[in-house]
Amino acid sequence: MNKWLSPRSAFGITLIVVALLGLPFVAAMGGQAWVRILDFAILYVFLALGLNIVVGFAGLLDLGYIAFYAVGAYAWALLASPHFGLHLPIWVILPIGAGLACIAGVLLGSPTLKLRGDYLAIVTLGFGEIVRIFMNNLNAPVNITNGPQGITLIDPVAFGGFKFSGTTQVFGYALTGPMKYYYLLVALAILVIIINLRLQHSRIGRAWQAIREDEIAAKAVGINTRNIKLLAFAMGASFGGIAGGVFAAMQGFVSPESFSLMESIMILAMVVLGGMGHIPGVILGAVLLSILPEALRYGVGPAQMALFGKQLVDPESLRMLVFGLALVLVMRFKPAGLWPSPERKRELGEKRMEVAK
């Protein structure tokens, strides 16, 4: 294998690195709100790639992914906020959050992974709702989650004395909180991209693909399908837990509202719309679907004013309407996603025929 990059790809990578480094400064020109949107876009890339292991690689339809994110977020919120008076360092909380999410994944997955795809979907969906309802109601008789009010004043991510909230001066540049989080998130996203790439072309990755293709044949060649599926499920859950922790720290606030079914659906939509199992596609899907609703938020209102001179319809619902239509249209004209992997495109094209058999 070639150890050195060709000049062309080296140039490409340099370009991407420069763009990634400079992006928050460009966004900051439009205000810190845009940097925050960028942060969320990257966070969603991370989440979507975590779910991609479950849905894209192992072919398991998980509609409750947000529950693991919620577990991670609440783990951070409870262990690093005035709510319980605990302020544990990141080295302790993040592994706990990921570990709890992983355990939740295993607990949910081990009895249910033998179910048919669509049943798994509804079970995971139900699980997501259960988690949310518990977070909403576990404020009495013992106040654990503080109910619908959520938990506030959560500690930011901090390494030693370096906090990710607030503005710091670095080499004469003023780095705002959102900008610092941006770089942290980019680093995390790159990590998860590398992990995704390596898994895909590994012994385990092949086993996942084999299960997706033909579960019986996979069993016959000696793959312990249940364990291998559980592995995907638990890994996806752990990534969800990590993302949740970072989310809680970044926001400084969590409440059950952030973990609705709609969020699970959104992340699934990112994976499918982008092109399941295809890492660049999933990244594209995550960036598009996180930026698009925000862009619409800023675009729809003013556009109406310009066209009609007044707000004809509520911009919020118009924005979601456009979003829903976009989902429908993309699926109609790009059924395998916007950027599917070459094989996946063909493979998925024939799945329905087999079902019809």
């Binding site: 898994l199 084999a210 094989e343 996946r344």
Partner: protein, 257 residues
């Protein structure tokens, strides 16, 4: 073969299986010896594939069981069968269609390799070495079944005969002691069948015991050392081809009594 290795590789003991009221297998007992090519024949619906599926763990027998290589086989654990050394092909070819031929065989190495998630994530030297070995072995097997030039084609784009070969290569990748072929000659023309026969004989020569389910009685009689005949889920006879061929009950079963 050294003297202290027992000659019996697989022993089926009174295996029974029914689906609802239908008795697909009635206490079938048979013995496969090390190094032989063992044929299992019978009319359509005689229970051949059911027997296969019980043995490879896809079905759980309702009675009886199997002893493989001196140790009982655990029912309901297909992946363990492969681990123990039983590999199979399917009557209606079951390849991983959207993986390349090479990848299919690489998947077949699953039970003989170790790398887990951690290894994949770290991509350390041991993982890389194992991965290279998997690839090399898979390539060798493709060469062995003579489809190495199709290595990078998607399995589903291979010709029918090549798909059969690929399935055999995938099965061999798990280094089986017993290779079970479920109607490998189905749908093949005379030339392809002759080539298949050569391949099977080669595999046996290289030390793998073979269980062959076949419809093509001529192929079975010519190729197998011993043959068992199933009819209505029950074993009719188990003997060398010359005897089986002349058995009145077998003739009746095939001609319809």
């Amino acid at each position: 073969m050294s003297a202290n290795v027992p000659t019996t590789l697989l022993e089926a003991k009174a295996v029974a299986k029914h689906f609802g009221g239908v008795k697909a297998l009635r206490d079938v007992s048979l013995t496969i010896r090390r190094g032989e090519i063992y044929g299992l024949i019978g009319p359509n619906g005689a229970g051949k594939t059911t027997f296969f599926n019980c043995m490879t763990g896809l079905y759980v027998p309702d009675g009886g069981g199997f002893v493989f290589d001196g140790v009982p086989l655990v029912a309901d654990a297909p992946h363990q069968a492969a681990e123990r050394g039983i590999a199979r092909t399917f009557q209606n070819i079951r390849l991983f269609g959207n993986m390349t031929a090479l990848e299919n065989v690489m998947v077949g190495r699953h039970v003989r390799t170790r790398a887990g998630v951690l290894g994949a994530m770290l991509n350390n030297a041991a993982t890389r070495a194992e991965e290279a070995a998997i690839r090399q072995r898979a390539m060798d097997l493709l060469h062995y079944v003579r489809i190495e030039d199709r290595a990078d084609d998607l399995a589903k784009n291979l010709s029918y005969g090549d798909q059969r070969r690929l399935e055999i290569a995938r099965a061999l990748a798990s280094e089986p002691k017993l290779l079970c072929l479920d109607e490998p000659a189905a749908g093949m023309n005379a030339t392809e069948t002759a080539e298949l026969r050569e391949l099977i004989e080669g595999i046996r020569r290289d030390g793998t015991t073979i269980l062959l389910i076949e419809h093509d009685v001529k192929l079975v009689m010519g190729l197998c050392d011993r043959v068992a005949v199933l009819d209505y889920g029950a074993l009719v006879i188990e003997d060398v081809p010359a005897v089986v061929q002349k058995d009145q009950r077998v003739i009746e079963a095939y001609l319809g009594a």
